[in-house]
């Protein structure tokens, strides 16, 4: 009888092993990403179809949540177990961190063949290549974070014409909106959203040089400067214009407030545009897109990239096909139309994009030329995650009233140096 139990166990285990064992004979790529929402997923489908035409199966490994937080955890366990996915959606310094672990695949041959060096902005290349200059990632798009989105009807009502040029104008506009009985700012109180607004405010307050020194190079002097204190003061000022229910709100719900006319403006990256378009609003007519007041001419960027991990020889060919497909103009356009971003390639025509998109593309190219293209701290292009999150902590704590501006400046310097 005892033997029967044992053999029952054995049977169970064997059965479980059978389920897992289905080998994949044909070429395939496994892609870890967090694009599970309808639009993005549909855009990825373009990529999937392209690959399947070439006989490569797409094995989907979506892990949503917290802009990739969960996905990065999963990635760690996958890499540790020696079972890395073929490609992983990743941002900024994370790519460099993984490159330093020596687990990424080299795409240089493909890049040379397809001349990626010529078509991808230099600021982006810094993140898509490892320290030896080898290509390790295929950038999908370029997002820009220092945008302001406004409800045109409310702007018309309170008499805003043309661009809001600088901080003072912004405050004047916000006051007018408040008087008119609207919530001036649609705000989502999550650390990364706080930081997205904060970096725009810093850029607007201190200018491009200061932004680079403070939030890309983390110069302690800049971090502890009076300019930084002013930036914090301005954050406190903005706090006066948000509704009491802001904390924890998802960014798309905040966008919805602008769309529905409950609130007037939102400071958010260009992905917010997708929400407006899906609600059948027209740029320029129903909603306004402009740079965060005082940051015109400068672009804070963020780019989704597919990082390629070292895989077995048998999967290498498929991986190259995937990288090539990601960089293909067809996919870049198709995807970015949906996503609200602009293509990572500067050589693709922008005609298919909407007015805001074309504007964005033009500004990106200009900023690339004039070296006014900086990595967005809030999205992992300003600092490695330890430092990034240390800044988040301070900004969020300050915005929620835990610190005064003076305290915040001090805390910022300390937190950054502790995390470095």
């Amino acid at each position: 009888m005892g033997k029967r139990i044992l053999s029952a166990f054995a049977g169970l285990a064997a059965g479980a092993a059978l389920f897992a064992g289905g080998a994949h004979a044909e070429e395939s790529v496994e892609v870890l990403h967090w694009w599970t929402a309808g639009g993005e997923a549909a855009a990825l489908n373009v990529l999937k179809d392209q690959l399947e035409e070439q006989g490569v199966t797409w094995q989907d490994m979506p892990v949503a949540g917290g802009s990739g937080v969960q996905a990065m955890t999963v990635l760690r366990s996958r890499v540790t177990s020696g079972n890395a996915p073929t490609a992983v959606q990743m941002l900024g310094y994370d790519i460099q961190d993984w490159a330093n672990e020596g687990v990424l695949a080299d795409l240089s041959d493909l890049a040379a063949k397809e001349k990626w060096d010529d078509v991808v902005p230099k600021a982006l290349q810094r993140f898509a290549k490892n320290s030896d200059g080898q290509w390790i990632a295929a950038p999908v798009n370029v997002h820009s974070t220092n945008w302001m989105w406004a409800n045109k009807k409310i702007f018309d009502e309170v008499g805003v014409e043309g661009e809001v040029k600088d901080w003072d104008e912004l405050i004047a506009v916000l006051d007018k909106i408040k008087e008119a009985g609207y919530t001036p700012i649609a705000y989502g109180g999550q650390p990364w959203q706080d930081a997205t607004v904060f970096e725009a405010v810093v850029l607007s307050t201190g200018g491009p040089e200061f932004y680079k020194k403070a939030l890309n190079d983390f110069d302690p002097e800049a971090l502890g400067s009076d300019t930084m204190k002013t930036a914090f003061d301005r954050m406190s000022k903005l706090h006066e214009y948000v509704d009491p229910n802001f904390s924890g709100r998802d960014w798309n719900l905040a966008t919805a407030m602008v769309i529905n006319g409950k609130a007037a403006v939102q400071f958010m990256g260009d992905w917010a545009k997708g929400e407006f378009l899906r609600a059948d609003l027209k740029p320029g007519e129903d909603f306004v897109c402009q740079r965060f007041p005082g940051t015109q001419g400068t672009v804070l960027f963020n780019s989704d990239q597919f990082v390629m991990f070292q895989v077995g020889e048998d999967k290498r060919d498929a991986q190259i096909k995937l990288a090539s497909a990601v960089m293909s103009p067809t996919f870049q356009i198709a995807f970015n139309k949906v996503k609200g971003s602009v293509p990572a390639r500067t050589d693709v025509p922008g005609d298919e994009l909407d007015a805001c998109g074309q504007k964005g593309m033009k500004e990106l190219a200009a900023a690339n030329e004039s070296n006014q293209l900086f990595g967005s701290l809030a999205h992992g292009y300003g600092a490695p995650s330890a430092v990034k999150n240390a800044v988040f902590d301070v900004v969020t704590a300050h915005f929620n009233g835990e610190y005064t501006s003076d305290e915040a400046v001090k805390a910022l310097v300390e937190a950054v140096s502790a995390a470095q």
Binding site: E30, T36, M61, A64, S77, N83, N252
Partner: protein
């Protein structure tokens, strides 16, 4: 007020107090039911009604489209498969994991109570302590182990992980239950000629109904609801239902289809709900039989 003759009641007999008693119990029933009601109500409303309306209002238009969508057409990844395929993954993982961990717990409990040896309580104490480790800390080393033994990204690997971290609880349950099981029965069976396994199989196991139910409920709900291990150790083709639900609900861009989310959440919860409702009475009985014992 004095207690009634046949047992003890608070405010026995007085209709007023009985009414208060029932009222209080009902208020708490509402408290416990509220989230489920919110989920159910909003899973049968069209999205427009959710946006505009009261979350506790009854639907003006009843629609079961969200349920259909969550089950088979919602966008969970690149493919719009709904939650359906992930259910199968979950079941493939849950059944063997529950069966093996309960079986091991049963035999461990049997040994630790009926075949005691020097140091057995230390062994038990160490096994019990394993119930209390935060699972986050095991992710990295476990990934390494799974990779080394070739179970990374497989259902078997997930089953193994759940068994490992379930043994502590199942052993606890069975041990407490068997501690109250008369040792003379074991001796009698020994005299009758039954060996170690046969005593377990023929004498103990047939009398273990309540505690088997408790273990199964506990393990089933824990494993079914697990997200962390499922997300970390599953492959694209073995992701369990919770990971899919998370992908459905947490997608951060685009229109949030709350009604679909709620329908998906209720779907995901259905198996555990059914287990609890069907076997709830045995659960309390099983707890009485052992798990609560000091």
């Amino acid at each position: 007020m004095s207690a009634g003759g046949e047992g003890v009641r608070l405010g026995a007999g007085s209709p007023f107090w009985r009414a208060v008693l029932y009222a209080v119990l009902l208020v708490f029933a509402v408290y416990y039911l509220l989230p489920l009601v919110i989920m159910l109500l909003n899973s049968v409303k069209p999205l427009s009604e959710i946006r505009g309306g009261n979350l506790l209002a009854l639907p003006k238009v009843w629609t079961f489209e969200p349920w259909h969508s969550a089950w088979s057409t919602a966008q969970v990844g690149v493919q719009a498969t709904g939650l359906k395929p992930y259910f199968i993954n979950s079941f493939l993982m849950v059944f063997p994991a529950v069966a093996i961990s309960a079986a091991l717990g049963a035999i461990n409990g049997y040994i630790l109570t009926k075949w005691r040896f020097k140091g057995d309580s230390i062994v038990f104490g160490m096994m019990l302590f394993s119930c209390f480790i935060p699972f986050q800390i095991v992710l990295i080393p476990m990934a390494k182990v799974l990779g080394t033994i070739g179970l990374a990204g497989t259902v078997s690997g997930l089953v193994m992980v759940h068994v490992v971290y379930g043994i502590g609880f199942t052993t606890l349950f069975f041990r407490n239950y068997y501690a109250a099981f008369p040792t003379e029965l074991i001796r009698s069976a020994q005299v009758d000629g039954a060996g170690f396994f046969r005593i377990f199989w023929r004498i103990l196991l047939p009398s273990s109904g309540p505690i088997i139910v408790v273990s199964i409920i506990w393990q089933f709900t824990n494993i079914w609801n697990d997200f962390l291990f499922g997300a970390s150790f599953a492959d694209f083709d073995s992701q369990p239902m919770t990971v899919a639900l998370n992908n459905l609900v947490q997608s951060s861009t685009g229109v949030k289809e709350y009604n679909v989310h709620f329908a998906g959440a209720v779907l995901a919860a259905l198996p555990t709900l059914v287990v609890y409702i069907v076997s709830g009475r045995y659960f309390v009985r099983g707890l009485m039989a052992g798990a609560v014992k000091g």
